[in-house]
Symmetry: C2
Subunit: 320 residues, 2 copies
Amino acid sequence: MGSEKQPSVVVIGGGTGMPVLLRGLKNLPIDLTALVTVADDGGSTGRLRDEMSIPAPGDIRNVIAALSDAEPMLLELFQHRFTVGNSLSGHSMGNLLLAAMTSVTGNFFTGIQEISRVLNVKGNIYPISNESMSLHAEMADGTIVSGESNIPLANKKVERVYLRPQPVQPLPDAVNAIQHADLIVVAPGSLYTSILPNMIIPQIDVALSNTKANVVYVCNVMTQAGETTGYTAADHVQAIRRHIGEACIDSVVVHNEPISKHVRQVYAEENATPVIYDTDRLLEMGLQIIEGDIIDPSRTTLRHDTQKIAKLLYSLIDKE
Amino acid sequence: MGSEKQPSVVVIGGGTGMPVLLRGLKNLPIDLTALVTVADDGGSTGRLRDEMSIPAPGDIRNVIAALSDAEPMLLELFQHRFTVGNSLSGHSMGNLLLAAMTSVTGNFFTGIQEISRVLNVKGNIYPISNESMSLHAEMADGTIVSGESNIPLANKKVERVYLRPQPVQPLPDAVNAIQHADLIVVAPGSLYTSILPNMIIPQIDVALSNTKANVVYVCNVMTQAGETTGYTAADHVQAIRRHIGEACIDSVVVHNEPISKHVRQVYAEENATPVIYDTDRLLEMGLQIIEGDIIDPSRTTLRHDTQKIAKLLYSLIDKE
C-alpha cells in the first residue's frame, strides 16, 4: 500500500458505450475520470433540460450508475423510470435527483458531486460543461438539423456538428483532467451525437491535441444508421479530425474477430453493419492500431466486454 | 448499556403537528413508532396518489425527515419541492422517491422502510394502511364533502368523517404496535383530516380502546377554521369519542400559559382562536389532565416546543 500516485485515466463519451468501459475500469488501480456529454435532448433528459435550463442529466446518470458501489436496490431506484403518472411518465428518478440537487446546491456539477458521494461513486465524474447547450448538424446537402435526437432521424450524411450557444464554456476540471492524464480513452458510442459533442468544445479540443497522454479511440464495432452508415474505422477517425484537427487521436482500438451471422442479422434490421477495420489506411494516417477480441459474445446487442476492454486499456498505460 | 427493553412509545397523527413531537422524542431512550395518516390528497401527494394509486406519501415524507439523522443536504434534497418544470412543478422530491421506491419494491410500506434505511431514520414509521384511500365528511347540515383538502374549505360544522373504500385494511404492524405499546400519543394536528383518519380505521379503533397503555391526546392549542371552530379541549376529545367510543383516550395534555396577543392576532386572520381548556368537563369525562408550558414562544406560527413536550411525554412512561 504505497503512497505512489496512481495513473490518471480519462474517459470521454456518453450514451451506452461509455458505461460499459467504466464498469471494467473502475476496479483497476487507476485514478479514473469520466468526461460526459450533456448535449442530449431526448425523453426525460430533454424535458428537464428545457424546463429547468440545466445541462442534460441522462448520460451523467448512466455514468453515475456505472461507477457507483451502492447497493443494487439503491441503483435500481436511481435508474427507475416512471411508467405511470401523467406528469411523471418517462422521467427517470436519477434525472430528477440530479435536477433537484442542482436546485439545492445551485450548481449542476456540485449536484453531481453530492449525488456521487451518496451513491459511493468510484472516480470523478465531470460534465463536459456546466451549461445547458444544444447540438446542431450541418448535413452534406447543406441543410441544418437541430437537436441531438433529431440528427440521426434525418437520415442524411452528416458533414459537421456544432453547439449553441457559442462559445460553450467547458468545465475547467475537465480541461485540467485532459492536461494531466496518463491515458485518454475516447469511448465507443454515437460518433456525432455522443462523442464529438464533447471533443468540439473550445479548450477541450485544444487540450486533446496538446496533451502528452496517449489518446486512444475505442472504435465502434457496428455502423449506426443516420450517423455512420458505410463508415470504416478510418472514416470514424477522419470525422473526428475533420472537427478538431490531426493531432487529437493517437491510437485506435479495433475488434479483431468476426461478428456472428445472427448478430449481423439483428443489426441489419437497423441498417447497421460491422465496421470495416481498414488498417492500412489507419496506419497511413499515422495511427497506432490496437487489436483485440473485445466483444461480449453473450449478447445479441453488441457491447464491448467490460473486463476484456478494461484489461486491454490498462495494458496501454505507461506505468513507469 | 444494559440489554433491557426500552419502553415502546407509539405516536399517531399526520400533518405538521406530528413531526414536531417526533423531533424531540427521537433522542430519548425509547422504542419509537410513528403511525402516519395516508388519507391526504392535496398538492404533490394528491397527484401521486391519484396517478399512481399509492397511499398519500406527503405526511410520511415529513415524518421521515423528522426522524432522519441524515446530513442536512440530503434532507434538503428529500424535502426539495420543484418550483419550475411544467410537469414537475409542485412535486416534492421525497414524495417522488417514495413513489419510485414503491414501484421498485412493489409495496408502499417496503418502500418507506428502504428510504428510511437510506436516510438513517430512528424508530419505526408505519403508514396507517398500505392502501390508497379517500376521506369524506358528513356535515352537520347533512351534506357530504369528499376529499381531505376539501373538508376544511367547505367551512361547515363536521359531524363525522369516514374513509373509502370500506373497509380500509390497517397495516398489521400498526395494529400490533398499539397492542404492545407502553405509551400511546395522539399528536396535535387537524382533528378531522390528520388525526381521526388514523383512528377510525377498523382494528386501529379497537386496538386503541383495548390497549393497556395510557393513550395521551396532545390537544391543539388553537382552533382550526372549517374543522374545530369554537371547540374547547373537551369538544376535541368528544369528537374522537363520537367516532370510536369512550375508551380510546385516557389523558389530555394541555398548554397552561396564555397565548400572546400578537400570536392571537395572527391566528385571528385565519379565524382561529386559542382552545379553551375546560378542565371541569374534561375531568367529568374521566380524563386525566396533564398541564404544562409546552409552546415554543419564539415563533409566530404556534408550535409545540419539541424538547418540552418530549420531556413531558417521557415523564408519563411507567418505567418499571
